[in-house]
């Protein structure tokens, strides 16, 4: 079973849905990124998505690009990702997913990556540039180590591809709210609502919506139809502007009204 899916289902049956919070590992440095992630959970984030900084992040908008570039410049190494997961899971019970572009996993070794992730207590991977068609090695390694694997679904995906994403995913399916990259948007596309309903028809039981969600109102709106809402750039911007107090406050504001 999937701890991530369990948490999402529990939040859903408690009347709201899950808040998934993204922050990059190593930004502004490893220790602060761990504290910031813990602060997210302490302020209402249900599932953590920790970004692995990468040199060529094609799915990321300017806020996350700046942060991950800074993390790399400050000396981020892949092993810091596992160290962060271990440190965070030792302190809070929320499940932790790593969000990583594919080449770092390939170079580390897909099996070795899965093993070290499991040893650190990581729940699984979100893979923005790996579609199930190319994922044979990861499907096998994640089955073997019982890790979650979150694939993306887009408004432009065909029904057949949505079914494939649902079948291949474990934990949740990442519904891309709009055609674009990460970053706050004033209104989350109505395409998201349609996509989530198409995913349900394709058999999805756990669907989280991401890209462009930055306010508590948007989180509540998304949770009317989806099982979880993913917030990234708004949290990263808060961390950049005001450090841990600011990111804690931002998480509290996003989760306000979700708890009953």
């Amino acid at each position: 079973m999937s701890a991530v899916a369990d948490v999402i289902a529990a939040r859903k049956s408690a009347g709201s849905g899950a808040l998934v919070g993204y922050l990059p590992v190593g930004y502004p440095n490893l220790a602060t990124s761990i504290e910031a992630a813990v602060a997210l959970v302490e302020n209402g984030v249900d599932v953590l998505e920790l970004g692995v900084p990468y040199s060529d992040p094609v799915m990321d908008g300017p806020v996350i690009q700046r942060a991950t570039q800074e993390a790399l410049a400050a000396g981020f190494r892949l092993r810091h990702g596992f160290e962060a997961v271990a440190a965070i899971t030792a302190r809070v019970s929320a499940p932790v997913l790593l969000m990583t572009y594919w080449n770092p996993v390939v170079q580390y070794g897909v099996d070795r990556f899965a093993d070290d992730l499991a040893a650190a207590g990581g729940a699984g991977l979100i893979t923005p540039d790996l579609v199930p068609d190319e994922a044979h090695a990861w499907l096998a390694a994640s089955d073997r180590t019982d890790r979650d694997r979150v694939f993306l679904a887009a408004p432009s995906s065909t029904d057949a591809r949505l079914e494939q994403a649902v079948r291949a995913s474990r934990g949740f399916v990442y519904a891309v709210s709009t055609m674009g990259i990460t970053g706050a948007r004033s209104d989350v596309d109505t395409a998201a609502r349609t996509l989530v309903s198409r995913l349900r028809m394709a058999g999805a039981t756990s669907t989280c919506v991401g890209l462009g969600i930055s306010t508590a109102d948007q989180v509540r709106e998304v949770l009317e139809y989806a099982d979880g809402a993913i917030v990234g750039s708004a949290l990263v911007a808060a961390l950049a502007d005001g450090g841990i107090p600011a990111v804690a406050q931002a998480a509290a504001a996003l989760s306000a009204g979700l708890r009953r």
């Binding site: 690009q65 080449n103 170079q107 068609d133 190319e134 694939f151 887009a154 432009s156 891309v176």
Partner: protein, 417 residues
């Protein structure tokens, strides 16, 4: 037949490592390209454009005075530098722009390194009445400012890319981000044989005319196939273009010359196959320059067009099977070859193409005077005059300084306000 390989994989290379949001666009493009390839109307339209606009077939030129410095081998240049816009890039651009038109796209976006692909794309956009946005690393907009001006004159918007290493790889990242967001109206006119399927195959197919023409031209001239075919390799489009027709001619050796910058054993080079290892970048599995963690390493070359830490998957495949050899050429070797061709033949090559010439000089000395070598002269050097002027210290800097200190009064030149 090696020539029949048409993706999505070349051995273990190629594929599609992209966000799900792009898959439908790649499927749409693949279907449209497959249909176009089989459509005589499309082929006739492209052939007509090449005959009346590109200037095809491009000629071949023997280079006997240059050949004296290449072991006396017979050196034949395929003159892609004479194409409209100054390089081979136009072959692919016109083909893809026609496909984009069939798809009903109204906006072309492109990445560019040296600016040649950007200029070619801006040209096609002007010709077909389409909007054009070109992403270009900030470093490259500075060293290729002439091409920036050309693109703007052609009506394109040039966006300097300030992320990462601010060169070609970052321009590709930004073009991919733009495409994800605007895929309905926009065709991403990728300029090399890299990227996700169908780009490596499609771009190669639009350039294979280079080798098909040259193969026949060399046969007509010499009565035999060449002993070797050479080209520079960045992403590898001009090399695949000239290699392809010869892939199944076992007597013809194929050589790709990579940019070795300050030397392939230093940390300032772009010798991807020589020094890299397999991984995933920009949507495909191929060789790339990367650190232990799989972070892309910034490449270095005096030539903006070869300054790329990846290479097309078909080259990776040809390398692994030993069908083609990939060797490093330093900045200094390339610049010497650039000057030599200029002095001996009156042809100023692009710095990119000068890497092929430098490799050919070494190869000619190895193969000896009985050998015939076909070189892809992929582009002309006009765009490189500032770099070459500084490198050889032949700019009249004193005159330039005088002008900065006291600008020439236009009225003294008889120019009216």
């Amino acid at each position: 037949m090696l020539r029949d390989e048409s993706g999505p994989y070349f051995g273990e290379y190629g594929g599609r490592f992209v966000p799900e949001s792009l898959i439908s666009a790649l499927d749409e493009l693949d279907a449209a390209y497959t249909a176009a390839k089989a459509d005589p109307v499309f082929q006739a339209e492209l052939t007509h454009l090449h005959a009346t606009y590109t200037g095809r077939p491009s000629i071949i030129t023997e280079a006997p005075r240059f050949a004296e410095h290449a072991g006396g081998a017979r050196i034949i240049l395929k003159r892609e530098d004479l194409n409209h816009t100054g390089s081979h890039k136009i072959n692919n651009v016109l083909g893809q722009a026609l496909v984009a038109k069939r798809l009903g796209k109204t906006r072309l976006i492109a990445e560019t390194g040296a600016g040649q692909h950007g200029v070619a794309t801006a040209t096609a956009a002007a010709l077909f009445g389409m909007e054009c946005v070109v992403y270009m690393g900030e470093v490259d907009t500075e060293r290729q400012s002439l091409n920036v001006a050309r693109m703007r004159l052609l009506g394109a918007t040039v966006i300097p890319v300030t992320t990462g290493s601010r060169t070609l790889k970052d321009a590709i990242n930004d073009a991919l981000r733009d495409w994800v967001a605007n895929v309905g109206s926009t065709h991403y006119l990728l300029g090399t044989v890299a990227g996700p399927h169908p780009f490596p195959v499609m771009v190669r197919d639009f350039h294979k005319i280079i080798g098909e023409e040259a193969r026949q031209q060399v046969l007509d001239l010499t009565g035999a196939l060449p002993d070797a075919v050479t080209a520079c390799v960045g992403g590898g489009s001009n090399a695949m273009g000239i290699f392809h027709a010869f892939l199944d001619d076992p007597t013809v050796k194929l050589y790709g010359y990579e940019a070795a910058g300050a030397g392939h054993l230093t940390d300032k080079h772009a010798a991807t196959i020589t020094r890299g290892r397999p991984g995933v970048l920009h949507g495909a599995r191929s060789y790339l320059l990367q650190d232990e963690d799989g972070q892309t390493i910034e490449s270095h070359s005096i030539s903006a067009g070869l300054d790329y830490p990846g290479v097309g998957p078909e080259h990776a495949w040809l390398h692994d099977m030993g069908r083609a050899s990939y060797l490093p050429i330093t900045d200094a070797e390339a610049m010497d070859a650039l000057r030599l061709l200029s002095l001996t033949e009156g042809i100023i090559p692009a710095i990119e193409s000068a890497h092929a010439l430098a490799g050919t000089m070494k190869l000619g000395r190895e193969l000896g005077s009985t050998a015939t070598i076909l070189v892809n002269l992929s582009g002309r050097g006009d765009k490189d005059m500032e770099t070459a002027g500084k490198y050889f210290d032949i700019l009249d800097t004193a005159a330039l300084e005088r002008e900065v200190e006291s600008p020439v009064d236009p009225s003294s030149l008889g120019v009216k306000e």
